[in-house]
Symmetry: C2
Subunit: 234 residues, 2 copies
């Protein structure tokens, strides 16, 4: 670690991907300037730091950009380590592999169908996406039992890699419940995740970083309208 | 590392994802039983080891399964390390983050459009996918210059993480050239990757693991026919 660290994170409050990166930095207890991007007028710094995707989050560490949320979380975990600093990824290589598997599952299988609920153009499509999302959460309920081994979080006693991957979507899961009355995590169907979600929300890092659900609802309505407008103009 | 390692890899010769995992094990110089799966009649071991995706590759290390090719490559790199054992991921955390970014780019952005060429149902769709693939290779040509810093591979003097991610697709890139006369990597348009691809193919690990291009062509024709049949039966 350099003597003087300059850490800047470009994000958007309701972006689950920015939430992960931001929470990782907060968990590590390092000081970081959080810069909120205006997605309708992206900064030059964002465009030049992430020329491939032009998306948040981007972490800029001593002038060097790192893109992609899970890459950022791993980077932050590796750079800021040592006595008394919480680990985000498990230290055991096998447990680390399992954590990487489930974090990738969240992004590759769960998130696309979850987002599909908001972007659906018809009620039928929304029902289909809701069904797919409910199916996609089931393996995560099992994974929690397997990974947590009876502890509070996927990684044990404190928030870790899979917790951040899935936990960053909780605001959207709640927004979708309010918008469409679709319950993806519930005490009846996913009791373990339901209790986990409560614990996650009560953590200091979540309290510091998570936006109000209303903000996600507002943003969701905007996404929904934009998807309809794009479909209508085709 | 345990005194006696039992390593088994379930794969399919032409699967780029299995190729990566297999090459990683070969690069590490560890002994590993490679088991070819019959995709039309998957083994119980595959189904029980990867219940979520039921796909190759799966690495089974002392009885414990690890799924997803890039997770396997990272696991193998972490488990088999030490003096004289080549590193697959860079040791510098920033370079490691950059390697993870580009490997994810290969899987998220490049591979889907490349596969789309084979699965296209019409000539027009194939041309569209080819155009998208040619656009998607461009950032990788730039990335090579940035990452390799004038050396032979993305990771320096030997095959590393991004080399495995993209290099495992070279057999398919060549198969697509033979099948459709579409040149994705060429001396004229992507000179750096063109020279890199030649070096990659000449490496000991590639020579040991890569299947004949004809096998990929055969498999590609099967995929093409299956896609057409699926579309016709809708």
């Amino acid at each position: 670690m350099a003597a003087k660290e300059e850490l800047k994170l470009l994000g958007v409050d309701v972006s689950p991907f920015a939430i992960r990166a931001h929470m990782a930095v907060v968990i590590k207890g390092v000081s970081c300037e959080y810069v909120v991007e205006d997605l309708s007028n992206k900064s030059e710094l964002l465009l030049s730091s992430n020329p491939v995707y032009k998306k948040v989050p981007v972490l800029i560490h001593n002038g060097k950009p790192i893109c992609e949320s899970l890459v950022i979380v791993q980077y932050v975990d590796e750079i800021f380590s040592g006595d008394g600093v919480p680990s985000i990824l498990p230290t055991d290589p096998y447990e680390r592999a399992i954590a990487r598997f489930w974090a990738a599952y969240v992004d590759d299988k769960f998130f696309p169908v979850l987002r599909g609920i908001v972007l659906a153009l018809t009620e039928q499509e929304r029902v289909e996406k809701a069904t797919e999302t409910l199916a996609a959460i089931e393996p995560l309920e099992e994974a929690f039992a397997m990974c947590s081994k009876g502890k509070a979080f996927f990684s044990g006693d404190s928030i870790g890699y899979v917790d951040l991957a899935l936990g960053s979507l909780l605001v959207w899961i709640e927004a979708i419940r309010r918008m469409y009355n679709i319950e993806i995590i519930s005490a009846s169907k996913t009791p373990r995740l339901s209790a986990w979600a409560e614990r996650f929300g009560e953590s200091a890092a979540a309290k510091e970083v998570l936006p109000e659900v209303d903000k996600a609802v507002q943003f969701g309505k905007m996404l929904e309208a934009a998807a309809s407008a794009a479909a209508a103009s085709k």
